[in-house]
């Protein structure tokens, strides 16, 4: 078994329920929603992401790479004399340096976010769970994984059932893994 899920049809109930799961001391659990809901970070106890620092580093790398490239190409490797202007001048380098700063920052934000989220990942036990198909449309789910140290089939099910959701269901591991004799 991968874990237990409880389904909600109202985001307000979900926020209250998440606070209770967190208070019960679970660590390997998550909420799944069709859209981001305000107040969930506090209810789930999610700490701020370090993504902005990664983006800052990406931007700095882009800026440095651009200035180095312009200087080396136009002033060192093949000095280009244009109307007697300096071979390397900061004002003329700014547009390209700015664009590359933005480009590298954007890639840092884009790639950093997906990698930190463990995506792309094309197989997941939850994606085989039939009720979970509505998690991207109009239903809200809390999932407690069976690998959580506090997980207990009976007690966890009782906790989830007490949260005021619609139904508590079991999510199986992937089918081929069961066949391998877990």
């Amino acid at each position: 078994m991968y874990g237990l899920v409880v389904e909600f049809d109202d985001p307000r109930r979900l926020v209250a329920a998440c606070a209770k799961v967190r208070e019960a001391g679970y660590r390997r659990w998550d909420a799944h929603t069709p859209f981001p809901i305000h107040g969930m970070d506090a209810a789930m106890g999610i700490r701020g992401t370090r993504l902005p620092w990664l983006v800052l580093a990406g931007g700095a790398a882009g800026l440095g790479a651009a200035l180095l490239m312009i200087w080396w190409m136009n002033a060192v490797d093949y000095p280009l004399n244009i109307s007697g202007k300096p071979l390397f001048g900061l004002p003329a380098a700014i547009p390209v340096a700015f664009e590359m700063t933005v480009l590298f920052s954007a890639f840092a934000a884009f790639l950093g976010m997906w990698i930190a989220n463990g995506l792309p990942r094309l197989h997941h036990p939850l994606l085989q769970h039939e009720p979970f198909r509505r998690a991207t449309s109009d239903r809200f789910f809390i999932v407690i994984e069976s690998t959580d140290p506090r997980f207990d089939p009976q007690a966890t099910r009782a906790l989830l059932a007490s949260l005021g959701g619609l139904a508590v269901t079991e999510v199986q591991e992937q089918i081929h893994e069961e066949g391998a004799g877990r």
Binding site: D10, P34, P36, L51, V102, M113, R121, D138
Partner: protein, 489 residues
């Protein structure tokens, strides 16, 4: 299909102090939002009109490639450019298309940072339009170099000359600006679309849909721990796209402003170009949205309030453009430079006066009608004005590019520029490519950002409900406005 027929249209354009304007009408729920938006993509066969439109746009696209073939095999002699006017329609069309893209970024990034909730209904569509417009724009600088097989010299790539590009040239800045803009717009658009692609994956009825949408949804499961990073990354991308969009058309304007040609060498160009770009882009978004909301049953999402807001932005940016035209003239006179004054008098009263006055009437006069609420909220009236603005903004780029070149410092080198049939058909073909991409987009991708629209619905808010309706202006109203609203009831 759900809510295909809407009887009458609710008018939500009135501003009532203290009462937020509803953004999603007709009592839509989370379920019905998903059903409506996904339903457009999931119908096994699109309407007959779609096939007809697609046939026309694909034919035009084929014509575009035929014209490009002609250009590459025969050389730029097939165009109307001459040794005086070396920049013809290729540059006009490039600036026209890249400018149109700017509205998408303004809606998706700047309105996001300004917490304008109404953007959620239109941002996906506008961002798609940005990318398609930049695709069309990218063709023109690539082909106008004449020797297309050497186009990679634009990029700092090692080549057999062992030379590097000149980084002090605005034309090279343009390569980086437009390249970055296209890339970042694509990242932003795709990031925002992943949750909606996951919705389509989870609703898929056929194996193929499940596999293809599944691959592009990259395993999105709506985990709140993922949403947390997603929202941060989205905010950062919006923050990056905002200065980027301002820089792109500034750099495009440097192509002109850094030269010494009279009429081009002015410091007003960067802000003036950016305002014009947003102006033209909103007009193009409107041109596409007004029919699209009708055909695809999106009236409850893209309401008159949304269109009213867009028209106010067109009015504001159109006025900025009008101000810039006037200020250019003033500086040409006040600056006391004979060549500069001549360039402007020549624009208004010289051989290209017809183009100048088309520009003025379309860009300066027509958007001023949006001061009247009756016109701002009338669908036929606004659509006609959008068309005028599209025409006017193309002519603006024509006037800037061609009039200055055709009569610069030396009268003996003056010449009149006329486009050839190849010029005209190439431009028409670029519209074919643009609309082909738009039609593929509305057929296969979610046209409205479902996950974002759901966040501005009352049911999504922790303190929503009948007592606290949620919509535009919510949270932005000063307390005394709220009090006044209560007294009024």
């Amino acid at each position: 299909m759900h809510r295909a027929i809407v009887l009458g249209e609710h008018d939500n354009t009135a501003y009532v102090p203290g009462r937020p304007t509803e953004l999603i009408l007709d009592g839509h729920t989370f379920t019905s939002v998903t059903d409506t938006v996904c339903g457009i993509v999931e119908t096994p066969r699109p309407p007959r009109a779609w096939y007809i439109a697609f046939a026309v746009t694909v034919s035009l696209t084929v014509m575009l490639f035929a014209m490009l073939y002609l250009l590459i095999t025969r050389g730029i002699g097939v165009w109307g450019v001459n040794s005086t006017v070396g920049w013809g329609w290729a540059i006009v069309n490039f600036v026209f298309w890249v400018g149109i893209g700017h509205a998408g970024t303004l809606i998706s990034a700047i309105l996001f940072l300004l917490r304008q909730k109404w953007r959620t209904s239109i941002n996906r569509f506008a961002e798609a339009m940005t990318i398609f417009a930049v695709v069309c724009a990218g063709i023109f600088p690539a082909i106008h170099v004449g020797r297309v097989w050497a186009v990679h010299w634009l990029f700092p790539l090692p080549n057999y000359h062992a030379m590097w590009p000149n980084f002090r040239s605005p034309l090279l800045w343009d390569v980086f600006a437009v390249g970055t803009y296209a890339t970042v717009s694509l990242l932003f658009w795709y990031t925002g679309m992943v949750p909606d692609l996951a919705t389509l994956r989870d609703r898929a009825r056929t194996k193929w849909r499940q596999i293809i949408y599944g691959i592009f949804a990259i395993g999105w499961r709506g985990s709140h721990r993922h949403w947390h990073r997603f929202e941060k990354a989205y905010l950062i991308l919006a923050g990056l796209a905002t200065p980027l969009v301002l820089s792109v058309h500034s750099v495009v304007s440097f192509d002109f402003a850094v030269s010494i040609i009279p009429g081009w060498h002015t410091t007003i160009f960067p802000p003036y170009f950016v305002a014009g770009a947003v102006f033209s882009g909103f007009a193009m978004v409107g041109t596409l949205l007004v029919p699209a909301r009708q055909w695809f049953g999106l009236k409850p999402f893209i309401t008159r309030h949304h269109l009213d807001n867009m028209n106010k932005i067109i009015l504001a940016t159109g006025s900025m453009v009008g101000y810039a035209y006037a200020m250019e003239f003033f500086i040409a006179w006040y600056g006391g430079n004979a060549f500069e004054s001549f360039a402007f008098v020549n624009r208004a009263f010289g051989p290209y006066a017809w183009a100048y006055w088309i520009m003025i009437s379309c860009n300066v006069i027509s958007p001023q009608l949006f001061w009247f609420k009756r016109i701002r909220t009338s669908l036929p009236a606004m659509w006609i004005i959008y068309i005028f603005v599209n025409i006017g903004m193309w002519f603006e780029r024509f006037v800037i590019t061609v009039t200055s070149l055709s009569r610069d410092f030396l009268p003996s080198s003056w010449a009149y520029y006329k486009p050839t049939t190849v010029d005209i058909l190439t431009f028409a073909g670029s519209f074919g490519l643009f609309f082909t991409l738009v039609l593929l987009f509305v057929r296969y991708l979610p046209m409205v950002a479902m996950a974002e629209v759901k966040t501005v619905m009352p049911a999504a808010s922790a303190h929503g409900g009948p007592a606290h309706p949620v919509g535009d202006y919510h949270g932005d109203i000063p307390q005394d406005d709220l009090d006044r609203g209560k007294e009024a009831h």
